[in-house]
Amino acid sequence: MTLRLSIPWREPRAPVLQRRHGRGGSKAVPAAAAGTSRQSGRARPREEVGLKRANFGDGPGLPTLLLLPQLLILLFFFFIPSLRALMQSVLLSDPFGTSVQFVWFENFRSLLASSDYRQSIAVTFWFTVAQNVLTLGSALVLAFATDRIVRGRSAYRTIILLPYAIAPAIAGILWAFLFNPAVGPLAQVLHGLGIAWDPNLNPTDALILVTLAASWKHICYDYIFLVVGLLAVPVSLMEAAAVDGAGPIRRFVSIALPMLGPTIFFLTVMNFIYGFFETFAIIDAVTKGGPAGATNILVYKVFVDGFVNLDLGSSAAQSVLLMSFALICTLLQFRYFDRKVNYGV
């Protein structure tokens, strides 16, 4: 038996969907079939990637019109801003914008030399790694448990998915309250245990707090992908392993986990993207980067340097560095999307 998950682009996230549609396959049109619907008398059109075999002719007028809104929006709010970030990163301007000077890579050099930036890198690293491990670990355990049980499955799933609906800022506020050293109920429990918990003063406590809040908000995301992924593991495999005497946990570790490999890889990349970029609201609502820069993650520093300190050159240089990181993540992601995973059994 061959389970073939052949996956174009973004679809591997949707094994369930593929099953429903029954056609998850790659859409490359067989060469022999290409052009059969075209008028005769014309040269057979070359096969094109991502173009329907039955399409609407050659005129560029209508498709241009259809593409125009998207391309205009991208031009104004994506391409021009990105280009400007690139340009600003090699310029030095004073906060009032009266003088601008071309300084090559001076902004990058002073950035990498600054201890603040290095601290920010370290903080971001520990924050994202801790968040990643916590999120993925909990999601795996929960997904395993969900896959085992029958009764109450949808009720559990509903509750566990709830944080997805809650804004990161609100998740941050909820946790800030729970662990508020003056009034928070969980902080009081910690104080009762003799732990001097105060995220407003202690850098480690602050980092733990934002990590908890960020993970709490994101476990549901990993969880649902893993649950859906587990559904796609063929029952026959599991049964065969059970006949061979493998227990449930052994089966999970030796069969389900390897089959989930691509999903886990994808989720790891997504967790990094989440930790790097989307946790801004949590940081701003809970700690504002403090105390003493302990939670000043890179994206928050871009914001502070750009809008509070008005150091546009440095902020743009930071943006460019973050862009390269985002680019790497996206390429990793696409590598995964383009891969066709074959499980010959």
Binding site: V16, F56, F78, T158
Partner: protein, 306 residues
């Protein structure tokens, strides 16, 4: 399930209950705090059972957060992002899958590139772009020396200064968040799975491209549109960084931004009860969406990343 193992099943239920509790505890304490008076909420230890002020606090939070205005803003922004992104994406996905034209692959790659950079990393230049959307045009005009050219042609001295400020406007809040191609790719993927025969038949019957789009493609896309709409609504409602930068006017703030104003800071009265009531109010619409439309929500979540 292959074999019976009651012990493991119990353990699984225990794990899931622990997970559900982890989700619920912050929400429960938000509810408890939201039902106490200011004096009670500062007591140590905090009561673990709700008080009697819940509805009074809700009312107070509603008026303090200017929620009747900010909720309307949030609804407009979230729906605007949802409708705008779906409309724009449907059209461009239709164009790149169903038309053969010379720069098709160029358009495809231009759109594709926008997947690579989240808005957070280009925040400062994007802000400038929206603070004065005419800036790039101005830049173009300056670079091409259009003013000098005009003077040379007509002999008049001219200065071209363009300005189009979108701060504190709905388009300023909505448009930059539409500028990503995730939805376009979702629809592209979906269009590629639609049988070729449908389009062939439509063409045989003499349907124009737009007729085909409107009466065949659009109805077929409804499930995908619904699923995506839910995700985009949550995305729009929960926006933080963008509205924070873009709304200097309190009347243009979204609900999440208004809520931020309710959080007690160290120098103000610690009115956590009001802050928590406000948090519950603000999270209510997206939570309801997820609860009521769960099947669609899961489909949307798994289909698209945003």
């Amino acid at each position: 399930m292959v074999e019976r193992s009651p012990v493991l099943n119990m353990l699984c239920h225990a794990i899931l209950i622990a997970g559900a509790l982890t989700v619920c505890i912050p929400l429960y304490f938000a509810f408890v705090a939201g039902s106490l008076t200011v004096a009670e909420v500062q007591k140590v230890p905090l009561p673990w059972l709700p008080g009697s002020q819940f509805f009074d606090n809700l009312q107070l939070a509603w008026s303090k957060g200017n929620f009747s205005r900010t909720f309307a803003n949030s609804v407009i922004v979230a729906l605007g992002i949802t409708a705008g992104k779906i409309a724009v994406s449907l059209l461009s996905a239709f164009a790149i899958t169903y038309f053969r034209f010379r720069y098709r692959m160029l358009a495809f790659w231009l759109i594709f590139m926008s997947l690579m950079l989240p808005i957070e990393v280009r925040i400062v230049p994007t802000f400038e772009a929206v603070a004065n959307a005419a800036l790039p045009l101005q830049w173009l005009l300056d670079t091409l020396h259009v003013a000098d050219l005009w003077r040379w042609i007509s002999g008049h001295e001219v200065a071209i200064a363009l300005e189009w400020n979108m701060v504190n406007t709905y388009p300023g809040l909505i448009l930059p968040l539409i500028a990503s191609a995730t939805a376009t790719f979702l629809f592209r993927q979906f269009f590629l799975t639609i049988p070729e025969e449908l389009c062939e038949a439509a063409r045989l019957d003499g349907a124009s491209p737009l007729h085909f789009f409107w009466s065949i493609l659009l109805p077929l896309s409804v499930p995908n549109m619904v699923a995506l709409a839910i995700i985009l609504f949550l995305f729009g409602w929960n926006q933080y960084l963008w509205p924070l930068l873009f709304t200097t006017d309190k009347d243009m703030a979204t609900a999440v931004i208004a809520l931020k104003g309710l959080i007690p800071r160290s120098d103000s009265e610690p009115a956590w009860n009001i802050a928590m009531s406000g948090a519950l109010l603000t999270m209510l619409p997206p939570v309801l969406v997820v609860l009521l439309l769960q099947r669609w929500f899961i489909k949307g979540l798994v289909d698209s990343s945003k």
